[in-house]
Amino acid sequence: MKSLKNHISLIIALFTVLFSVQIYVGVDRTIAAYETRLKNDYSIIVVAHKALSQSEFKAMDSLIERSEAISVDQVLQRLQGEMSKKNLDLLRITLPKFYRVYLVRFPAPDEIIKLQKRLQSNSDIERVEGYAQTHDTVYKLMLLFKDVVQIFSIAIAAVTSLLILKEMRLWQFQHADRMSIMALFGAPMWLRSAVLFRLAIVDAIIATAVLCLAFFLIDQYGWMDILLHTVGIDVKLFDFVDDSLRSLMIALGVSIFLTLTIVIGHEEEE
């Protein structure tokens, strides 16, 4: 019973570390998906004196992916009843060219300003509208959210690592007799501490399995998917192959590293 309690303490601590890491990964993925969505929706409006080709736009800045001419027909249609055909034709010729410029990726706010300046330096371009202000607010809010989650995850990982260290000290205390007897017969450090490493490895595997189960249930229940779909994001919060492998590596890494810290510390004390 006591041993089970010790196992559960470590499993919960490891699970917390893994869960916070997975939440960070999930947020990162969500933000990346949101960035892609923003990138697809986002464009700069360019007003030019003359018609500009796709390649001309691309030559202006490497950030530009493509351009799309904005048709003026709709505006002219509205004026059809009020103006003669001749005037309308004249207007069609004299109206500047409007373009929607799409970018290769979602830009940082300063990149938008730079791009705007570069486009405006072109003598054929009359005006550029980057909507930098709106863009800036959304982008900064997103980065803030990402940073908060990251800090939160690091804090959880640090606190739970300390808890794991304490737990392992308890284990070491429980197995101190056995380890010192083995030392009297010349057992090397790794053999003496084998029981600690075995416990750490088993608990790391169990913690990973519990994490997979938790995300499987979240996936099955589907409420996270509904939430994400409402904001137009389609993202996989937990990839059962990649994420479970990464989580196992993290759990094993953390538990083995902390066991080593305890064992080496004990060796030096001796």
Partner: protein, 223 residues
Amino acid sequence: MDKVIIADNLSLSYKEFETIISKANFSIDAGSFVFITGASGSGKSTLLKSFYGAIEPRAGGLLVGGVKMNRISTSKLNYLRRHIGIVFQDYKLIKEWTIEKNVMLPLIISGYTKEVSGAQVEKLLGHVRLSHQSGKYPPELSGGEQQRVAMARALAHNPILILADEPTGNLDEYSSQVIWNLLEGANTQLKTTVVVVTHHIPEGLNVPYKHFHIESGSIHEVA
């Protein structure tokens, strides 16, 4: 004759300005049977501890099995301990392990195969008359039986040196006799050097032995 232990002006202490053993000069021949006696607190157990590296010499030199014990590295100490069998007054058995596994401990550490270890353990448990108890755990045995297990463990890996600290201190007559017989047998048949720390030397031993006595931090051989 080869020397298993050589002490050259050996001083031992736990604290800096305290002396337990002072400038001791003695040697122990390979294959000999040695008793170290002395009053309680005279330092005989401390001296024995220095032989297996549990305490380092404060001054002077100490060679055990050709290994210098001053500032000995962990790997050298482990190597040396794999060639020594130790019997403690409080047995020092691993409570969570069966009797069989306890006896097997030195063989596991030395990397013997399960077949070799199993055969050796079976033979030794027969010698200490505990074959029928092999699956039990130490707390299920009496003190005498536990010490016999500890004795079997000390012999398991055919050590060059057996160190015994009051091996029969708390035992009944039967268990004491088994222990002495095994120590005698190891010494006469396997030529293992045996060093026993005790309050008094048992009567009726069938082996020639050397006797060192500790008094006021000094060691002298008793003729």
